[in-house]
Symmetry: C2
Subunit: 594 residues, 2 copies
């Protein structure tokens, strides 16, 4: 909580948002704190106590239905009562019109407490926001109020068995009728929250092709396909079959449905917005979902970090390396340098990732409330940062939780501790909402070249501003100079890759997109660490308002130093690989892997 | 199997062992192949078909007993009937007197098929070898025949709740009596195979302190503590209580017992060898176990690699990056550069690790059959390589299986595929038999300084021999030169660290032992890849006997190139960190992590 307040108010100063008209009804930091504390209360009482139980008694599919944990119903109620489902919706639509940043701060707390449970809530909010943005008034009236109330579950239904990550290849079809609906036929898999027992209806935001639509992503439309159609106060069966639930390694309390439309009868779908623009609408939800996956990964890794930190501060074992006197008591393992390294690595990943998440969240809000050039700038920064904020926290988070487990040694591998569950739960984050490989292609293939590299230029400019500020501070000058040098190498490396693009050698340009992503993640995190260090150092020097304890700020400085010593140098190795002309991942004729 | 034969006969030429007296009763490669094929037969019929079942129906503790999967009994029988429990024992003791390398090759196949099941077999063999080496004739006669027959289970009982990795702090005690036994009192946890239903007796090789023994590791003795004492053809209760089984993230078919000695009655223990020398005896078993953990990690990662390779060759998705024509069918995912990169990474980790394992195994056998300086050389090479061969395959194996899972995308996260189980099973390998942190302290703190750095010198000399050979080959010259340069940096880095040791700054010297381990692993693997490439390139040039297909050798060359482009450059980043004078993992006064 201390760290969240530090990020919100000191590093990213989200109180600045309150000066915009859209948010001026919010009282101030005190009111925000009350809201966040109320979310913490729900997490403490309704969510974390069921974290292990929802894993041990996972969602199961039996006799045509998905059975979920009974607590889920109470969670939906508590979250709806507190208004979180309608928190970002406009006042005029019955919402609380809060900044997305603040909504996300509440969800961060939910994710850390019980990421399976939070999943249901997050996807429902994303779905109703999509209807609010692009759906007709009629559709809004038909679906949104019950979603606000936590009675109906919203979902996103994209993936199909034969298409996976390749959305151009989806085949679910929509046939126009003379009525206000289309007939939907097709199958969707991996539908998170696709069915369960805590809600009475399911509102599937579904991608499908209208008969005769162009091939590829330009022929995809967005439909609302409810499980039951509300008519005159009744719920009529819409013939959405739930054919199964995927049993998973982690997030076992979170349903993952297989849905079939139009097989047992007519399945009606209501077109959202214009035909063939479905994918562009869906990207609103997907972009938010991508930031949210990054945040969830950081939240799980954060819970794992504190769990291992607590253990390291309680568990005596062995003696300090410089004092092997066997007559003395064993020392706490946090005093072993290697344990401390594993803790600092986690802290640097988790808090660096969260800082990046809140950087992006603030841009989301600013994009909504600004105009013209400023709005365009926010849009572009978000475009380039979204694949990074999805990927770095996920990939680094998996390593981070692995380190947390390692701190506990053999105990970490047992079911008696939470670590094994965090280890399983977080593994999906590099796959959800576009795998790390897909995100990397998005970054290097689409976001870097967009508008002649303008988004990239803006990002570098933001980083240089931070460096400039840090250079003015004695304690940070040397780190700022290191980062400036790293950014220079980063640009050289990109320039090297762009030569392939200019020569039309797309395959060579994109072959190592994943490594370019890794490099971008490291550079971006180093930037966020300098940002945090500027605030911490000012507070330590007495120049800023001392809102947290001295130990808190010192700990921030140490973690920044850790990142610069242990993580940032990896950029050299990655650049070295990216500049190496030998191509080994591009398949040549006749060559097989065995 | 193709790769195993390549490593055994072409890279490490284990047929050379047959010229030594100890192994001259073995017919030749044909006989070895028959033995290995017989092991494969057991793995295919008795082990792999139960791989998922032993996980889905894990070992459980109920009413004072551990209940194991019924198939385990058949596995013990098949392995005993084939003679594998007695395979390395001397002919005169009723064994087959096979090289340890060959025994390990059989176990590699078992580990890849079902690592939980193999665990029981491996620890039993290790225990009986220990009795054979250091136990009296009477103890040998009392325990070993039934262990050969797979009727009695051998275990190693080291860990205690309060001591964990710190063996100096074990408190289990042994009280001398006027009879031939000691009375043992104490508790042991995490005892693999400590109790189950497939064997009728358990032979616990137990570390305990004889009353009045010196403090620390110099006061530890080794005892055989059986669950039942054989007397006149009967088995008498020895009051070993099994107080529980640790439920685990992975290897759920493998029992992990909590044992209590001397609480419900007198527990007798029989001293093995001399008093207070227990830890040095145990190191025979531990060193073999450490190589075996490295091999098990590589075996699991190998199974995961082939599983993901098979999937990538079957699953169509998306289109080739340079050909986005939507009218064409989707391409197989193996044709995407990023998928190929993930496969090559796995292949480079798995086959590089296995090559290192077989390097070490050959040294184990050579140490047994050679004399004088040669024997000493084998001993020293093993001393320095053992922590590396335990750690690299485990740490890299965890990443490797994670990549295998990633290749399958969302499917990899479901219980429908094996990947999620490999992901859980392999996680313990960085903890078993001394965590990676402990191994790193062993490497930098004990093995590097031993005999004034002689072991390290010998290792570098071996590497330089390989480099010298590679430099003579046009296709390998440039890679050999790169590795020579990396080794120079490696030595400089070590020299930098040794300055701290010379100044008595032990804490600074050892603070980043884990990074020095990572660096050593990368250098060692690069050496093994050049070794394999020499053989492959000779075969491709027609200069060697072409035992495998051309595609096999080409695939080896590609993987070596992958390792040199993507993995080896990481050495620069690690050296950079190791030479950085800023100390952030050594705790200063008053400073806390939050």
């Amino acid at each position: 909580m201390e760290n969240l307040r530090f990020l919100l108010y000191e590093v990213h100063t989200i109180q600045d948002l309150l000066k915009y008209k859209r948010f001026e009804h919010i009282g101030g930091i005190e009111e925000i704190n009350l809201l966040i504390n109320a979310a913490k209360d729900i997490a403490d009482k309704e969510m974390y106590p069921f974290f292990k139980a929802m894993d041990a008694n996972p969602v199961v599919y039996k006799e045509g239905k998905i059975h979920s944990h009974p607590q889920l119903k109470n969670i939906f109620k508590a979250v709806a009562d507190a208004g979180w489902f309608s928190s970002t919706a406009a006042l005029e639509h019955g919402g609380m019109q809060l900044p997305f940043t603040l909504y996300s701060a509440a969800h961060l707390i939910f994710e850390a407490a019980n990421s399976s449970a939070q999943g249901y809530l997050g996807v429902s909010t994303g779905a109703l926001e999509l209807i609010e943005s692009f759906g007709s008034t009629a559709l809004n009236e038909m679906f949104v109020p019950n979603m606000f109330a936590g009675k109906w579950q919203g979902t996103m239904a994209l993936t199909e068995p034969q298409a996976g990550s390749s959305l151009s290849d989806i085949t679910s079809s929509a046939h126009p009728t003379t009525n206000d609906y289309y007939e939907i036929v097709g199958q969707k898999i991996f539908i998170s929250a696709g069915e369960h027992e805590a809600c009475e209806n399911f509102v599937h935001l579904t991608l499908a092709r209208i008969k005769g639509a162009p091939a590829g992503t330009k022929g995809i439309s967005l439909f609302i396909v409810p499980k039951f159609i509300p008519e005159n106060g009744e719920l009529l069966d819409n013939h959405v079959i739930c054919a199964g639930d995927f049993q998973k390694l982690g997030q076992r309390g979170y349903a993952t449905a297989h849905l079939i439309f139009g097989e047992s009868g007519i399945t009606k779908g209501f077109l959202v917005g214009e035909a063939n623009k479905g994918l562009s609408y869906m990207f609103q939800m997907m972009n938010a979902a991508r930031i949210s996956v990054g945040q969830t990964a950081a939240a799980i890794a954060s819970a794992a970090y504190y769990s291992s930190l607590y253990y390291a501060n309680e568990r005596p074992q062995g003696r300090h390396i410089a004092d092997k006197d066997l007559a003395k008591e064993q020392t706490l393992i946090i005093n072993h340098a290697d344990v401390r390294r594993m803790l600092l690595q986690q802290k640097s990943f988790v808090e660096g990732s969260l800082s990046l998440v809140y950087e992006c969240l603030k841009y989301v809000d600013l994009e909504k409330v600004t105009e013209g050039e400023e709005k365009e700038k926010m849009y572009l920064l978000l475009e380039i940062l979204t694949p990074i904020v999805k990927t770095y926290p996920s990939d680094a988070g998996i390593l981070s939780v692995s380190n947390a487990l390692q701190v506990l040694g053999g105990y970490g591998f047992t079911m008696d501790f939470d670590l094994q569950q965090y280890y399983r739960d977080i593994r999906i984050m590099s796959i959800y909402e576009g795998t790390s490989g897909i995100q990397s292609l998005d970054l290097l293939g689409r976001k870097i070249p967009m508008q002649n590299g303008k988004a990239f230029q803006l990002l570098i400019t933001e980083m240089m501003k931070t460096i400039f500020m840090a250079k003015e501070m004695d304690e940070l000058k040397s780190y700022a100079e290191i980062l400036a040098a790293v950014i220079a190498t980063y640009k050289t490396t990109l320039h090297h890759l762009l030569q392939f693009a200019k020569q039309g050698e797309v395959e060579k340009y994109l072959a190592d997109a994943s490594l370019f992503m890794e490099l971008s993640g490291i550079v971006t995190l180093a930037w966020q660490w300098i940002k945090q260090a500027i605030v911490a150092q000012r507070a330590l020097s007495g120049g800023g308002a001392e809102k947290q304890s001295t130990a808190f700020y010192e700990s921030k400085m140490e973690t920044m130093k850790y990142f610069f010593k242990y993580e940032l140098p990896k950029n050299i190795a990655i650049s070295n690989t990216l500049m190496n002309p030998e191509m080994v991942t591009i398949k040549k004729k006749m060559e097989v892997l065995m």
